[in-house]
Symmetry: C2
């Protein structure tokens, strides 16, 4: 029973080679993890024997615990407290001890039902996904939109809004929509006084649509100078839009269930979480995660100190990518204390990522409904 690749961590901290546990050690470690996840209280040998009907005495369990501690899988808050799993202990648990079932049929249906309930736009999918994840795992959920690693031109529309205001609406090849207002002064200059109507705008849009299909920002920039004045200007604006689309904007990260995590005893002192929220919201943290997850595929679990970012050393992430590497790629998962219900979180994240895949596929054209 080798650890599933899909669960190995960010860092190369697969359990040290040759880490072979006896059956008893495995049983004890599993019991410690599961009890601690439920109770949040360090678990002692006596409790373990009683609660899990181990057919041995507490002394035996104690010696097994001592061995596990020597291996670095358990730790000791202080002499007379029970044992607590270490990050490595959780890691071993996740990779080879956990009974991982796929998500309950009933849960699956419930989730699917919520998604089919309403005619949702893609952003609402994301929000719903975050909310479902958070609710189902009682952790904080994070969902980023599925975006192409390199945004590609799909279809451009220029719209006259007010007298002086024109909007460029760009549908990307991956189906996302971005928009930007055109600079009035620049247009004036290019038109050299003659009025600019919707018909003119349509013509420019048609020109660019014909030229730019499927292009990236760079490609479009190279092409732009070959167009006439007005079209060239607009092409440049559009290239800027493609650029923007290439950076995962913070605004587009959907979170839910932060309250769930706040309610955990680990974060009773609210200040602890505040730094974590900062990292999650402000930095390029998630963006850096995308390629890692994409390469790995499937569900990735990052436990406590395995996380490269020090602020995240007290939390675990269970994340998966969704979408297709070469088209549109997004990210979803949950964040909670290392004392996380992995056997629940992992299948849920996995199921949601496949579900989002389906939605994405049906959204972008495969005959699938």
């Amino acid at each position: 029973m080798v650890g599933e690749q899909a669960h190995t961590s960010d860092r190369s901290s697969t359990p040290r080679s040759g880490l072979e546990l006896t059956e008893r050690q495995r049983t004890v470690l599993r019991a410690v993890v599961e009890d601690y996840v439920l109770s949040a209280v360090p678990v002692g040998s006596r409790v373990l024997v009683d609660r899990y009907r181990l057919r041995v005495s507490s002394a035996t369990v104690r010696s097994a615990m001592a061995e596990l501690e020597a291996l670095g899988l358990l730790s000791h808050p202080h002499t007379s407290a029970g044992r607590v799993p270490s990050d490595l202990g959780y890691r071993v648990y996740v990779e080879s001890l956990m009974h991982e079932a796929s998500l309950d049929r009933a849960d699956q249906l419930m989730i699917r039902h919520q998604f089919s309930q309403v005619q949702l736009t893609s952003n609402e999918w994301l929000r719903l996904a975050a909310s479902v994840l958070a609710g189902s795992t009682r952790s904080a959920a994070v969902v980023t939109p599925a975006k192409a690693r390199r945004a590609r031109f799909g279809h451009l529309q220029l719209v006259e809004l007010g007298d002086q205001s024109r909007l460029a609406v760009l549908v990307l090849a991956d189906g996302n929509v971005v928009q930007r207002r055109l600079d009035h002064a620049a247009l004036e200059r290019l038109m050299a006084g003659s009025p600019l109507g919707q018909a003119d705008l349509d013509e420019v849009a048609a020109t660019i649509n014909a030229e730019a299909a499927g292009m990236t920002a760079t490609q479009l920039r190279r092409r732009a100078p070959k167009l006439t004045g007005l079209a060239a200007h607009v092409a440049d604006v559009v290239a800027g839009l493609l650029d923007d689309a290439d950076t995962v904007a913070v605004e587009e990260v959907f979170t839910a269930g932060i309250g769930n995590v706040l309610a955990q005893p680990e974060f009773a002192e609210g200040a602890k979480l505040s730094g974590i929220l900062e990292v999650l919201q402000r930095s390029d943290f998630l963006e850096q995660l995308v390629p890692v997850l994409a390469r790995r595929g499937g569900v990735t679990v990052i436990i406590g100190h395995e996380n490269a970012n020090e602020t995240m050393h007290e939390v675990s992430l269970v994340f998966a990518p969704y979408g297709e590497p070469d088209r549109a790629l997004g990210l979803l998962g949950v964040l909670g204390p290392t004392r996380m219900p992995y056997p629940r979180a992992i299948p849920t994240v996995r199921y949601l990522s496949t579900l989002m895949n389906e939605l994405l596929a049906s959204h972008s054209g495969e005959p699938h409904d």
Copy 2:
């Protein structure tokens, strides 16, 4: 010096009529509030005399404090602690004691600079506004997008994406963009087998654009049956989009700086905030606030128990609407402990609401840049 209307609360809790404070009481109340806001520690008579150079003895201050307590403006955590302002005390402070300046010229410029920095889309404005508010007031900020109370048709575009997938992209009259995928099966049926190309889509879009300009969902629904099969179907979809746009979706609330609030001693036990976050994110709390704020105009301060929602009894809100009542209306403001730096928060919120007004105006056509 009568309380500014703009600051009166949600409930009709203007300070009880005939509440006339002596000059000394006013001085003491002001000092207590300002000291407590800074220190978060109940403030005693001695400290007050020293720190604020009152030219009287602590005994005098004590008697003034006792009077203020009898009036319900101060309270007493316990016998030998100092005084703490009550919600009503803050209310009086905000309405008639506070030295409210408009925002520093320097701060104004700094904020304005951030907005002019980049070519932003409207959603990025919102995110930026939230982030600026949060940073400037060290509280949590909330910004909702400016939306018409009744969404109106602006311009429709139908785009062919994949073989089987068509997207309806609707620019609303207020400049927002919404989108929805067209149901493939329904189109098939309507076309009765003949293929449907981009040209056909453009034609349908043109028809609807000609018919539907400026319409609400209801008006469009009334018109739809008069159109031909395909156009009627699309018009119906578009009406649905307008409906959707009428409900402030949760996804569209931008928050920032939750960490700031978590760091406040009031919320040292993180669990307290979790309920508040729930309310803010999940319910129609903000939506109910919109008409209230719109009617009032300007900055509205809601302090602790003045809030109708019980969960919010330990926090204060400083909010303002932005946009125009009949066109697009949004909401922005900050949330913090009742011990909030009102003299900072109020001008900041006010300034940001006027700034967003400007941006909105320039966005939708007035020659303003």
